[in-house]
């Protein structure tokens, strides 16, 4: 039986899902890059290169047409096309619900959009895409709908969430979308778990521009979104430089962590268009091997 609460949520979901999906599709369409090659020789349909035949190549593999034009024998190689499992984790913590200005979307919206757009691209490229802890990696168009519906689910009650690695396929790809403002231990642990399974991937830190600028002055009590943390200051403007230094240090740490496990790290701001971040993410995922 549907409780009223569930029903309103379902209705809200029904309203938000199509726009989100549409937006993600739109965003993904701007980075249509043609065929989804692997940039290496392997099983596939696309021509990759001719290489001189060497011992061990069967006679069937030799491309006679090419070989006839020269003295050597050549083998026609095709580009390797293999499906990957990509697991995306979107931080659903309450800190992601922050928006620094009226009219600017909350960080979580941007994270969902990026996740879904990335999913659209990857699914189109034949990959399997899943959501960490929410959906198993699968391929196909229907997976997109599933992902979308899971993504718009209710967020966590915690202020800051730690990366979820459940459901990550070994030697797959991982994408963490978060502001990474919470406890560094949790992030480190999550990253380590993923790395242990041989997962490579990308960290996208999504920040609101006001988190980059700290445009506050005067006597202020700062509270986290869930009010679990608070800090009172007499002159917020005096904290700016130190806050920015800490933020820079945090980014450095994250970049360092990522580098250590062979991941990529980038910061994206909700004030700038999502397209650039999507492009970066896509490239980073491609170049990850």
């Amino acid at each position: 039986m549907l409780t009223p609460d569930l029903r309103t949520r379902a209705e809200a979901l029904g309203q938000s899902l199509p726009p989100l999906l549409a937006e993600a599709e739109m965003l993904a369409s701007t980075v249509m890059l043609g065929e989804h090659g692997r940039r290496r020789a392997g099983m596939g349909d696309e021509f990759w290169q001719y290489r001189p035949a060497h011992a061990g190549d069967s006679a069937r593999m030799i491309d006679w047409r090419r070989s006839a034009r020269s003295d050597a024998h050549f083998v026609r190689e095709r580009e390797w096309q293999a499906a990957q499992s990509v697991t995306i984790w979107v931080d659903q913590g309450r800190s992601m619900g922050f928006s620094g200005a009226k009219g600017r979307e909350p960080k979580v919206d941007r994270a969902r959009l990026l996740a879904l757009a990335l999913a659209v691209l990857l699914l189109r490229g034949g990959e399997r895409v899943g959501l960490a802890g929410l959906a198993q990696p699968r391929s196909g168009r229907t997976q997109l709908l599933r992902l979308a519906s899971r993504l718009v689910g209710e967020g966590a009650a915690d202020d800051y969430a730690a990366p979820e690695t459940e459901g990550m396929v070994a030697h797959g790809r991982g994408v963490f979308l978060s502001d990474f403002l919470g406890d560094l231990q949790g992030i480190e642990a999550g990253l380590a778990r993923a790395a242990d399974r041989g997962v490579k991937g990308i960290l996208i830190q999504i920040l609101d521009p006001s988190e980059e600028e700290f445009p506050f002055d005067g006597r202020t009590i700062f509270e986290s979104m869930g009010r679990s943390l608070s800090h009172e200051t007499k002159e917020a403007g005096n904290l700016r430089t130190r806050y920015l230094a800490r933020l820079a240090e945090r980014k450095n740490r994250l970049a360092g962590l990522a580098r250590a496990v062979g991941w990529h790290f980038s910061t994206h701001h909700t004030g700038s268009p999502a397209q650039s971040a999507l492009l970066w993410a896509y490239r980073a995922l491609e170049g990850g091997r």
Binding site: T30, S95, E211, E223
Partner: protein
């Protein structure tokens, strides 16, 4: 009233709360500003950071000061502060208010009226009967009445354009009994003033009120050396200052304008100063009035009458007219010189004299009849100027040979002399510099004025003093003799160019000017005016405004002459009076008028109007208090860190309100800056491809590299040999030099200004072409609209672009140099848009591969294939950007370059290739 210095308080006990201010200070100090609560995820990062200053939890001292000042200003404001509280004229019994009401009062009449009204109102409060007299009125019995009756009458009072005079008569009509008087005086001394002072003092106390504002008066202008001299007097004569005098009059269109102006400078302590106004005669003749700006009193206005008007000059030539010999006529040059500035009378001498000319010119007239001579002599004695020119007739006659003719300044020697002619020795003689004392002193004599023939004067005793101009060798050229009020001047050469080149030079005109101007008496003499009735035409009011006199009765000439001398009166208002043949101006300030201060008796207290005006400061203090409170609100907001958003909003409002206006204004003012010459040369010595600077350095560099590559290709393959490409800023640079503009449209491109649009449209209309490249063909074309496409729409909205169509297969662009059907750049297959072909030419002719389209070149080509990237070369000439894959990519680059070549050919040759379809027909017609 309780007063501290000049500050009085209406309710002094309200000041008591000021004592409580220190307590307020302490109270406020204890309460810190409230903190603002903010949700902020970044709090995790600031945990543990300490504040630098511990003091911020107390209210800062300056905020305290603002608040305390606000409260203090409020308290003081409510206590009713008054600056210079007025000591009312206390007393009982009737009050007589005396105002001069003269033209000098007009300078600050509102203040005077205010004072009078205040006095009347005070009397009303104190229940005193009151009366007000204006001394410029005719004396009449004074009756004291209630203040209410007077209040309305006082408000309508106006000053009169003359000075009060009938002091004694006013003293006679003062009411009986004791009363106090207040005399609001104009500060100018006048005869008989003390009579009234004594009479008023006899009735009771007398208080005199004056103002400090100076009186400035303009005397009637006069002539000296061809210039108008204006004289200005002032009172009091204190520090150095200057006033502007303007000459007003109708312009040729009849509209009143300032015809000239000059600055009159008073030295320290000088009461009178003069300045010269040099005006051409044509302008001077039009002047109707002089006035001191911005003083608006009748005394600062001087109407000009006929003394500035055109002179009447009679030109007399005896003997038969020689028709057809215009240039030889002795009067020709005179006529030319005088017609613009004077009224010319021509005819016989007797008739001309009846018209009472100012000057009579006799050109080579030797003998006069007795009647003529008598009439002329009489006319000269009355002030006429007789100007005689020599000539063959005069030289041959016996006039003034042995005895001096009354109408000749000197005796003449027989025959005259001729120098520098074919039958004589010597060179023609030039002019000597004009001696001091000569009316021509100061004129420069040009070198080319030479005299070859002249009549010679007998060396008499008074020859030297009668000579006003001489030749280099000292022979007199012009001589002058005074006869009565007038004079006779003889020019020893002819009035035409026969004997000298003088009449041909500008000097001749100037000399005539000097001579003729000094003929007029400055002021009309009393006897000139007497015996006539003068009708007023224009009258002045006290503020110097001229008005039509209407049906005012005429006045006798004697009275007018007296008034001109002593100033206007009630019966003779200032203005213009017309007589039988001239007009006379009666000005408030005469030529000899002097401004003198009144010497009040020591027993009369004198106060000034300005210093005694009470100023109620209540509003000022309350406003200050409110402002302090507002400041406090802003400061408190700032302290709490909530000001930022507010400021942003305010900045937006300011930007909209303040900067929008001036910017529009500037846009109108902005003229197209002259292009840098070097740049213009660079752009015009050879064909130059140009690109539009977008502001994105990466895109700009790419555009440059792309056009460089295209230029290289053109140089190699075609006869088009372009120089280095140039980047242009559509806002500032001149576009006319460039046949072709490459315009990459980027996301976030700025919309050009109106001026730039005007320039661009002009460019497009006059044969320029712009290639718009949105560089987004890779992502566009899915039905979605890219940001670049939107930017292009925005830019193109202001451009004069015709209807477009996708480039048709038979467009001339497909065959101007290469035969092409694709137009790739870095991207392949994006649509390219050009101006749509006219509907009429839709069908191709039978057997023709192309439609017959040979009109017009598309002003724009729009596409998104990012051509610049495909054309781009690095500094070694190699391709800069990767295009496509492998050999197909090279092919794509090649086609892209071919498109570029075709495009430039299209730009440069227009539809030349389209015309090729006519070749068969042409060949056929040639008989092949």
């Amino acid at each position: 009233m309780f007063a501290i210095g000049p500050l009085g308080f209406a309710a002094p006990w309200l000041l008591l709360p000021l004592i409580a201010l220190p307590i307020l200070w302490i109270l406020l100090r204890a309460v810190p500003p409230a903190p603002i609560r903010r949700r902020f995820p970044g709090v995790a990062l600031i945990l543990g950071l300490r504040d630098d200053e511990a003091e911020a939890d107390k209210t800062p001292w300056w905020l305290l000061l603002i608040r305390t000042l606000a409260v203090a200003a409020m308290i003081i404001g409510f206590a009713g502060p008054v600056l210079n509280p007025e000591d009312r004229v206390e007393g009982s019994g009737p009050l007589l208010i005396v105002v001069d009401g003269s033209w000098a009062d007009a300078r600050d009449w509102p203040q005077r009226l205010e004072k009078a009204e205040a006095l009347v109102a005070d009397s009303g409060v104190q229940g005193r009967p009151v009366a007000l007299i204006r001394l410029t009125d005719a004396p009449e019995a004074v009756e004291f009445q209630t203040a209410e009756t007077w209040a309305s009458r006082v408000a309508g009072l106006q000053p009169q354009p003359w000075a009060p005079a009938d002091f004694a008569a006013w003293a006679g009509v003062l009411p009986e009994g004791a009363f106090d008087s207040v005399w609001i005086s104009d500060g100018l001394a006048a005869k008989g003033r003390e009579d009234l002072v004594t009479a008023l003092q006899a009735h009771g106390s007398l208080l005199v009120v004056e103002t400090k504002k100076p009186v400035i008066a303009l005397h009637p202008p006069r002539f000296e050396d061809g210039k108008v001299i204006v004289a200005v007097s002032r009172l009091p004569a204190t520090e150095a200052s200057s006033v502007t005098v303007q000459a007003m009059g109708p312009d040729p269109a009849g509209i009143e304008r300032v015809l000239g102006q000059t600055l009159v400078n008073f030295g320290l302590g000088e009461a009178r100063a003069e300045a010269a106004l040099d005006l051409p005669p044509e302008v001077r003749n039009r002047i109707t009035r002089f006035e001191i700006v911005p003083v608006r009193t009748a005394g600062a206005v001087s109407l000009s009458d006929d003394s500035l008007k055109r002179r009447k000059i009679a030109l007399i030539r005896m003997g038969p007219d020689q028709e057809g010999l215009q240039l030889l006529s002795p009067l020709h040059y005179l006529r030319q010189a005088l017609v613009p500035v004077a009224e010319i009378i021509e005819g016989n001498l007797i008739d001309s004299l009846r018209a009472n000319p100012d000057v009579v010119v006799l050109a080579d007239v030797a003998e006069l009849t007795k009647a003529e001579e008598d009439a002329t002599l009489e006319w000269v004695k009355k002030g006429g100027l007789l100007l005689r020119f020599a000539g063959p007739d005069l030289a041959a006659s016996d006039i003034s040979r042995t005895t001096e003719d009354p109408l000749m300044p000197v005796r003449l020697r027989e025959g005259g002399r001729s120098v520098g002619g074919t039958m004589s020795w010597g060179e023609p003689k030039g002019l000597a510099p004009f001696p001091e004392g000569s009316p021509f002193y100061g004129l420069l004599s040009p070198d080319d004025v030479v005299v070859s023939e002249q009549v010679l004067a007998q060396p008499d005793a008074d020859l030297a003093e009668r000579t006003i101009a001489a030749l280099e060798d000292g022979t007199p050229l012009m001589t002058r003799k005074a006869i009565g009020g007038g004079q006779v001047v003889l020019v020893h050469v002819t009035a035409n160019a026969e004997w000298s080149s003088l009449p041909l030079s500008g000097l001749f005109v100037q000399m005539l000017e000097r001579l003729a101007v000094s003929t007029k008496p400055e002021q009309p003499e009393a006897e000139d005016l007497a015996g006539q009735v003068w009708t007023p035409q224009v009258t002045l009011d006290a503020y110097g405004h001229a008005a039509d006199a209407g049906e005012m009765p005429g006045v006798a000439g004697e009275a007018l002459a007296k008034a001109v001398d002593t100033g206007p009166t009630r019966d003779l208002r200032p203005g213009l009076y017309a007589g039988a043949d001239r007009r006379v101006a009666l000005n408030v300030t005469g030529a000899k008028a002097e401004l003198l201060p009144i010497d009040w008796p020591a027993s009369v207290p004198v106060e000034t109007l300005e210093g005694r005006v009470a100023q109620v400061l209540k509003g000022l203090f309350l406003t200050a208090g409110m402002l302090f409170l507002l400041l406090d609100v802003l400061a408190a907001l700032w302290l709490a860190g909530r000001l930022r958003g507010l400021l942003r909003g305010a900045a937006v409002v300011l930007a909209l309100g303040l900067f929008a206006g001036p910017e529009r204004g500037m846009a109108q003012d902005t003229t197209v800056a002259l292009p840098d010459d070097a740049r213009a040369l660079e752009a015009t010595t050879a064909v130059v491809l140009a690109y539009v600077l977008t502001g994105d350095p990466r895109v700009d560099d790419l555009s440059r590299a792309g056009l460089l590559g295209l230029s290289d290709t053109l140089w190699q393959r075609t006869s088009v040999e372009p120089m280095m490409p140039i980047g242009v800023d559509v806002e500032t640079d001149e576009l006319a030099f460039y046949p072709f503009l490459y315009w990459p449209v980027i996301n976030g491109a700025k919309q050009p200004s109106d001026a730039a649009y005007a320039k661009l449209n002009q460019y497009l209309r006059t044969g320029g072409m712009i290639l718009f490249d949105t560089r987004d063909a890779d992502v566009a074309g899915f039905g979605g609209e890219t940001a670049e496409a939107k930017a292009l729409q925005m830019i193109a909205s202001g451009l004069d672009i015709p209807a477009l169509e996708p480039l048709p297969a038979d467009h001339v662009l497909t065959r101007t140099f290469y035969l092409l059907q694709d137009f790739p750049g870095r991207h392949l297959g994006g649509a390219v848009w050009v101006e749509a072909a006219p509907q009429a030419a839709e069908k191709a002719d039978e057997g023709m591969p192309f439609r017959n389209l040979n009109d017009g070149v598309s002003p724009v080509v729009i596409g998104g294939n990012d051509w610049a990237s495909a054309w781009a070369v690095d500094e070694y000439g190699g391709p800069l950007m990767p295009i496509g894959r492998g050999g197909a990519g090279d092919r794509q680059r090649e086609i892209a370059l071919r498109f570029g070549v075709n495009l430039i050919m299209y730009v440069l040759t227009g539809n030349y290739k389209s015309d090729q379809v006519h070749v068969p027909a042409l060949l056929e017609r040639l008989g092949q």
